[in-house]
Symmetry: D2
Subunit: 151 residues, 4 copies
């Protein structure tokens, strides 16, 4: 691999700002208190600080909160590899809850497994961060569809 | 089927209040603005009025919001058939988004398919309600685990 | 509904023969000993008589055998509603094994939930038939893609 | 890590022979022509040479064949970490078909993500081998249950 050029840096900034724009239009992400982490081609991080507003009946992060940022991270990861003038929609996803989701925050990392013309397959890992430890708490497989962006 | 007896009515009220107690301890449900609908043995409804705080980048209900109430409705449905002194945890779920989720509200209906000693399999239908029309927008299959309630 | 007309009967026969042609080109279905059951628009049955060649280590039908006929029944159901000149491919599926799959045979019933232009969502129920009893043993959600038929 | 000791070698042989015994009792694996590849704690490979008896209507490996060896590889991987006197059953799995499955053979690699007391979560990658190239063709997430071995 060649070292980072000015042009790569500019592209990276453009990519991030495109994803950030999508993120900022996602009412749910803002309402949950999530924020966008690293953005790279085919890989996007979404972080979610703990709040009692995100819990299930035992005080853990609700599976719905975990799934929400996982779906978002996966969709954004697919978006970084979608054709120009396309936006993305979730077709389906499946999530396994691996361990109790508790700690200061969750981090969802979406990674494109295969980007097709119409469909993109994404895998998302979710980790809980607690007292400096990072524990895997969920694993998602997701199918994303590219659709023409009418906006 | 025999007609409803006083005892059935009392049992129905008890069941509802047990599920309502779980619901009221679910910070995420309150934060999203969801509320508990019908409760019957093996079947629970959760409703979610539209709000811009629940959207994805195109202004539709975010798949994470849809999945959150589906997961909740399914978990509560399993809970109605869990052994005494047990609570429930989501092991995994898979959701297909069938159509754009838009309208005045969503309704998730969780229905137990098979209740085992340890695991319960649930199916959840989610409908969008818009101008008097009810459209299926999502379908979930979910695995729930009974765990001892230490509370 | 109006009674069956000659034209409906002819259409039904055409539909069946189109699905049967697909089935007969499916080497795996023949190798497993499966056969095509009822065929209707959006709904197809596939049957699988028991054989020791279909088992897992405990002598039950292997989850792979169950999934194979479920995937086939679902794909054929989608095919009955695919556009002309299209064939179908499985994008993904998720299956819950509900109960030990044992008996004289399995029956998979695929039913289209939503047929889109590109993607079709199907639900498949699998039953075991044993001594005259029919027990649900698996439940599948499946995503099928219409692709141009180059054959 | 310390170098391999005599005892590790013996343990490795024991582990393999335990998995091989399970494999040899799986009628479906033998009927499909699959064979057991590498076996390590938490990771098992299953190979499947191509045959017209394994195809769908376009001549590709049938998704059912792909799923069958993926389910087997995942179940065996879980088995390597199951408690003594336990055997394993598939609770559910979800598989994405990433690319047309064609070539001389398929290789499924099951890898334990989290081994719990009751449930084990496994991820399975399936590759097609064609003219010396290895292409990912499927990705599975699977939930396995430990059950007392009455055999």
């Amino acid at each position: 691999m060649t070292p980072f050029s000015t042009s790569d840096t500019r592209d990276a900034a453009t990519l991030r700002s495109r994803v950030q724009a999508l993120f900022d239009r996602s009412g749910l992400m803002l309402h949950l208190g999530a924020h966008l982490g690293d953005v790279a081609p085919g890989r996007v991080h979404v972080n979610l600080p703990f709040s009692p507003a995100l819990t299930q009946h035992l005080g853990l992060f609700h599976a719905g909160a975990t799934a929400s940022i996982a779906d978002a991270a996966g969709g954004f990861a697919a978006y970084t590899q979608a054709p120009e003038n396309c936006t993305v929609l979730s077709v389906e996803f499946k999530i396994n809850l691996l361990a109790p989701a508790q700690g200061e925050s969750l981090e969802a990392i979406g990674q494109v497994i295969r980007a097709g013309r119409t469909l993109t397959i994404v895998q998302v890992d979710v980790f809980a961060l607690k007292a400096g430890e990072k524990t895997p708490v969920a694993l998602m497989q997701q199918t994303i569809m590219n659709v023409p962006d009418r906006a």
